[in-house]
Symmetry: C2
Subunit: 414 residues, 2 copies
């Protein structure tokens, strides 16, 4: 008898965890992703800030699924879904499924503002991380040719929009790259001409954290020389810079957008009911309504846990991936699956060297203890033993020598 | 009194060595390069074959010249030369000099054959190395969607043109990537469908070596499953594949060109007399005729040592760089410089795992001893202590686990 085919759309944390959890379930698993690698996204900002190389935070999907005898991988762009024919549509043609797990993640949301989409850099994927790195370093090189101070200041102003963990981590890393490393590279640089500006619409950064940790993060950002603008809303981005809602303008050539995020395009293309942030509406069992053979997990899914929808976090995606694998196993064994329940392991964010905040239930860490905790958790979770070794060498190297070794402006060919 | 300004065009092995040797000479040094990094080119094929990350073989020029108090760097495209006005022309405007050192290296030469220029991949710069890596890995992914065996074979045929050290090393590395690593990634792959073909116009590979070492290299290539075609001349490259002079065709989507090399475009733009391979004609003192304030070194220079012109090798460039620095120092001290003499330290090339050839005067090494020698020399010469550490981890990892960890198809943004 032919085994049921489980197609998983997306090899991020949700999809990969689901494939792994299906290891001993009598199904054939096919993972599909537009990239041939799984990305350890929590450290993407370290690629963007010239500390790590891509190979340290990305692993080939095929390598990761080698131990899974029932899993295969195909690289393809997913273009849509034919629910009636039970086919996932890709640029290489349709792929039939018995069970489908939608795990295609999230993308930047510009809220329909064209100028944001065109003139800002995202920080969701590896090529975007490299583009941010190229951009920051190129601005410093370009600034050396400019005699006019005003223009030089604009080149050396780096704006990060969004005070969530990604924005805070990127701003912190950019500031340290500039103040601790590039300062030594550019002997004739007036460090006062270089600015890192963090713009957040709310009256605080890190809104997901308790007020005391938000405050700690804010103070830490300011101590690292970052100009934090709270209650500030970006209205438009032009070639000359950022225009805020109040009319204020910031002259800059570099705007990194981390303020909006929505489900990946597949959610809309799927033709199923959507929740907030274009996320796919799911039953408590993570199934799509009227299509029990289709599940949605992670950022692309609008799963709720009692109140609002669950946040776009890696632990959510991984727990949902594991849950769906169990549900498929139970369904095959004619057992009814129980509803998904999220177990919150806590949240954290780092501001840089010696400073992070972590909120683990009632335990709140900030400053150096938070940072040590952050380090250990991230190092342990880096994708492979080899990567851990090399990331450790790089982190130790940076910590001791105040160096970010990957300061290379490299553009890859086609 | 203002110190004379030495402008060095190119931060490769020649230019960087020259800048370092000018450290204690009373001049101001300005290094110019189109990239912000110095590249350890001997290991570029290891980036192309998914073993190393760019950050392991490239270092920011600014970091390398930090210890040199009299040196600065600017990133620019060099567009030409105004010898009368003593200006180097760049995309950021002209740069005046008192002494000029042309060290802009070499580029691929397609001998005027348009189809070669358009349809082959080079292996001279970091972005080309990444493009080769992307190409090889993409072909394997694409082949999984193809049912037709003929078409799949074409996708999985990788042609390297040129049997010099670059071509031999690239072919060897590509073959090991496929046979030792990708074979495990693609469970349904028929390894007989994957071919690595090395095409060389001469009746032997590694023409710079003695016949016994050429033979050893050839046998080693064949043992690694590479199809070596000797006395074969590429006539044209089309979308469908390579056409040889005799009429034979090889169906392939991937042609890596290492068979022709000539001086960088600056040599022609300089408006000075040229030697073979468009290299700048120089006096025995490496000065450009009638322009004693202009020197040319390395691949861009057609220096001769008695007989023909010196080969395009790193030791030549480095010795010339050091020599020119001394010449400038002597000139400033009113001492007449002596002519340049090249001290040949020997040549080597590796075919891959456990196999290399080295020709050190009368000492000839091949096989495992040659490989150990190659390893030590290259590891010692990698650009920084940190890189050495990480390259060592990667090499050991590959050697033990038969793994090439950087199998990532990554395209960098603008």
């Amino acid at each position: 008898m032919k085994r049921p085919r489980v197609v998983i759309a997306g090899a991020g944390f949700g999809g990969l965890t689901c494939a792994r959890a299906l290891r001993y379930v009598p199904v054939d698993v096919l993972l599909i992703d537009r990239n041939n690698y799984h990305l350890f996204t929590p450290l993407l900002y370290q690629v963007a800030s010239a500390l790590l190389d891509p190979g340290e935070i990305a692993r080939p999907v095929r390598q990761l699924i080698r131990p899974l005898r029932n899993a295969d991988f195909r690289q393809a762009f997913i273009t849509g879904l034919n629910l009636d024919a039970r086919q996932l549509l890709t640029d290489h043609g349709p792929i039939g499924y018995d069970y489908l797990v939608l795990a295609s993640g999230a993308q930047s949301d510009y809220f329909g503002n064209e100028s944001l989409a065109e003139r800002t850099l995202g920080l969701k994927d590896l090529d975007e991380g490299l583009a941010v790195r190229n951009q920051i370093l190129s601005q410093f090189e370009a600034s050396r040719w400019v005699d006019e101070a005003e223009e030089r200041r604009a080149l050396l102003t780096f704006v990060v929009v969004g005070g969530g963990p990604t924005g805070v981590e990127m701003a912190g890393a950019a500031s340290e790259l500039i103040r601790l490393v590039l300062r030594k590279d550019y002997r004739d640089l007036d460090i006062n001409e270089a600015r890192v500006v963090l713009i957040e619409a709310a009256p605080y950064v890190l809104g997901a954290f308790v007020p005391s940790l938000r405050q700690a993060a804010l103070r830490s950002l300011q101590r690292k020389g970052i100009e934090v603008m709270l209650g500030a809303k970006v209205e438009a981005v032009a070639a000359s810079g950022v225009k805020l809602a109040g009319g204020q303008e910031i002259n800059t050539r570099t705007v990194i957008w981390t303020a909006g995020v929505k489900a990946s395009a597949l959610a809309q293309a799927a033709g199923v009911p959507l929740a907030r942030q274009s996320r796919i509406k799911v039953e408590p069992s993570l199934q799509v309504r009227e299509h029990p053979e289709v599940f949605a997990i992670g950022d692309v899914a609008g799963a709720s846990d009692g109140g609002g929808s669950l946040p776009m976090l890696i632990p959510v995606a991984m727990q949902e991936g594991r849950y769906v694998a169990k549900s498929i196993r139970d369904t095959l064994a004619d057992r009814a699956p129980r509803p998904f329940r999220y177990k919150d392991p806590g949240i954290m964010a780092t501001i840089g060297r010696n400073s992070a905040v972590a909120q683990l239930g009632r335990v709140h860490l900030s400053g150096f203890p938070g940072w040590v905790f952050w380090l250990v958790v991230h190092l342990v979770n880096v994708i492979s033993f080899r990567s851990r070794l090399i990331v450790l060498v790089n982190w130790a190297w940076e910590y001791i020598f105040y160096d970010r070794p990957i300061r290379l402006i490299v553009r890859a060919g086609p």
